[in-house]
């Protein structure tokens, strides 16, 4: 489905999309360029909040609020605690700026990754329009898909979490010093 720029401008939803997508992109840019680690984490919050808002705009309320609950409300807060317990610098941090030998490959990798994901999504769903009368929530459908068709991938993902948990305990545990013989 091809849409010309004039048609794009007539649709109000596109302005809402732009109002959400631009802060998301700016936030993502600031995450990697900010020299203060706490600020970088907070820009990550802006990015995730933008993506949650985009989900809600697409009618996937459940996914949107789950992003807020899990990523903004738990994961990023844990980042913040980790930073605050260790150093919580107030000023800027030179270590956060990498030399060009690191920056350029990272940028290239990001561009390639973006292209692949964008191409895959556009190829698979590009022609689909969201039916306007579908209502805001399809939580029931989502549950059916996760727990029926995709139940095995879902369980495998939970195994990844379990191994991360075990790894965390293994790293944090203080072993008793061995008894001298």
């Amino acid at each position: 489905m091809h849409v010309s720029f004039e048609q794009w401008l007539t649709e109000i939803a596109n302005y809402v999309f732009a109002a959400l997508a631009i802060p998301t992109l700016v936030g993502a840019w600031m995450v990697v360029t900010s020299t203060n680690i706490v600020r970088a984490v907070l820009y990550l919050v802006v990015t995730l909040a933008g993506s949650a808002a985009l989900f809600i705009m697409l009618g996937a309320e459940f996914v949107g609020w789950t992003v807020v609950l899990v990523y903004i409300g738990a994961v990023i807060i844990l980042f913040l605690i980790g930073i605050m317990i260790t150093r919580a610098p107030l000023g800027s941090h030179e270590e956060l700026s990498h030399p060009a030998t690191v920056k350029i490959p990272a940028a290239l990798l990001s561009i390639v990754l973006f292209t692949v994901v964008a191409w895959a999504v556009a190829d698979a769903f590009g022609g689909l329009a969201i039916p306007p009368d579908v209502g805001a929530t399809r939580t029931g459908q989502l549950a059916e898909v996760i727990f029926q068709r995709f139940v095995i991938p879902f369980e495998v993902v939970s195994l990844v979490l379990l191994s991360a948990l075990v790894g965390g305990i293994a790293l944090a545990r203080k072993d008793e010093p061995e008894e001298p013989a």
């Binding site: 706490v38 907070l42 919050v45 309320e61 459940f62 609020w65 789950t66 807020v68 609950l69 903004i72 409300g73 738990a74 807060i77 844990l78 913040l80 605690i81 605050m84 317990i85 919580a88 107030l90 805001a136 929530t137 939580t139």
Partner: protein, 349 residues
């Protein structure tokens, strides 16, 4: 409803909800000070207005005229944003709480809640998890030691008990078969055998876990380590004064009332109660039942503060992770079995 009408109705609801919450906080602060005072055999504020009820207003005015000081090393933008964030998240939680039965005027039905989200329970958990940011950022951006200690404590405490809070609600959702708050209240109408009201409080373990986690989530005694005056001065808001401090204070009490209202909604049947009299009374009575139930829970909050000593930090963490969360997981399993048996019969039958 047309677009304009929807806009006007929503606007009115928002303004009324805001006024209701601010008024509630004015009364709540006074009630808490008076009740705790009586529990401790003193009088409490009793000069301003009848019985001292205007004391909060006087305190608020005083804070309004006080100088707002900023520490030299503060990160100004975040330092200013933190109290605002605290109030905004506190206000946002109230948006989905139904305070009365739907009212029908003419042929339009208006719900007595700002909006009814289908994923209401998830929304509440998500928004209250954002409240942690206000505390964490206030502590960090102050550029001072005690606030930082207070905010690290609070962030750890709040995310620990959030887990228990959410898990306690899972059996409620499973029995009500909806995550909309209006739906959960509807599911609690009617009676068990025409005798007892069909409230979710029969899920007693859930109720107890939710209440305990609610105390911790709102940083109330006995879980008020966040602002333990004897150890870390005032915790995260040590460096705040004037209106900025008042914002944190406001947020704390709105959160307390929200938690009470949520307890009433999830476990005490919300606005359900006996209805009688003329039509207008049938619309007013549910609001009154809701308020009575909420204030009973509020009294529980105050009672706990007047009775229990503050627990130690390691006890707090051990209790949350090693007691509350395992108990709620086992309880979810049991509830699941109960629902399965009710639906499919006994496995050997």
């Amino acid at each position: 409803m047309s677009g304009l009408e929807l806009l006007v109705v929503s606007g009115i609801k928002v303004v009324v909800a805001f006024a209701f919450l601010v008024l509630t906080v004015l009364v709540l602060v006074w009630v808490e000070r008076r009740v705790v005072a009586f529990m401790q055999n003193r009088y409490g504020p009793n000069r301003a207005g009848p019985g001292g009820i205007l004391q909060t207003l006087a305190d608020g005015l005083k804070l309004f005229f006080k100088e707002s000081m900023t520490p030299r090393k503060a990160q100004f933008l975040l330092y200013i944003a933190a109290p605002v964030l605290a109030v905004v998240t506190a206000l946002l939680v109230f948006v989905v709480i139904p305070i009365g039965a739907p009212v029908t005027i003419g042929d339009t039905t208006y719900t007595l809640q700002v909006t009814d989200l289908d994923v209401g329970v998830l929304y509440i958990l998500a928004i209250s998890s954002l409240g942690v940011y206000a505390v964490a950022l206030a502590g960090w951006s102050s550029g001072s030691k005690y606030p930082l200690l207070g905010s690290v404590r609070s962030a750890a405490q709040m995310i620990s008990y959030e887990a228990a809070l959410g898990l306690a609600l899972v059996p409620v959702i499973m029995f009500s078969r909806t995550t909309s708050l209006a739906g959960i209240v509807e599911a609690q109408s009617g009676t068990f055998g025409g005798l007892l009201p069909a409230w979710n409080i029969v899920l007693l373990p859930s109720f107890v876990i939710f209440l305990i986690a609610g105390f911790a989530e709102t940083n109330r005694a006995p879980f008020d380590l966040v602002e333990a005056e004897q150890e870390i001065v005032g915790g995260y808001h040590t460096e705040y004064s004037g209106m900025r401090f008042a914002f944190f204070f406001l947020a704390e009490y709105i959160n307390m009332f929200n938690m009470a209202a949520l307890t009433a909604t999830f476990f005490l049947g919300g606005w359900n109660g006996p209805l009688f009299g003329p039509t207008w009374l049938r619309y007013v009575l549910p609001v009154i039942w809701f308020l009575i139930k909420s204030w009973v829970v509020v009294f529980l909050f105050i009672w706990a503060r007047g009775t229990l000593p503050r627990i130690r930090y390691d006890q707090l963490m051990a209790f949350g992770w090693k007691r509350l969360i395992p108990v709620s997981l086992v309880w979810i399993m049991l509830a699941m079995v109960a629902i399965g048996v009710r639906r499919f019969g006994l496995p050997w039958a």
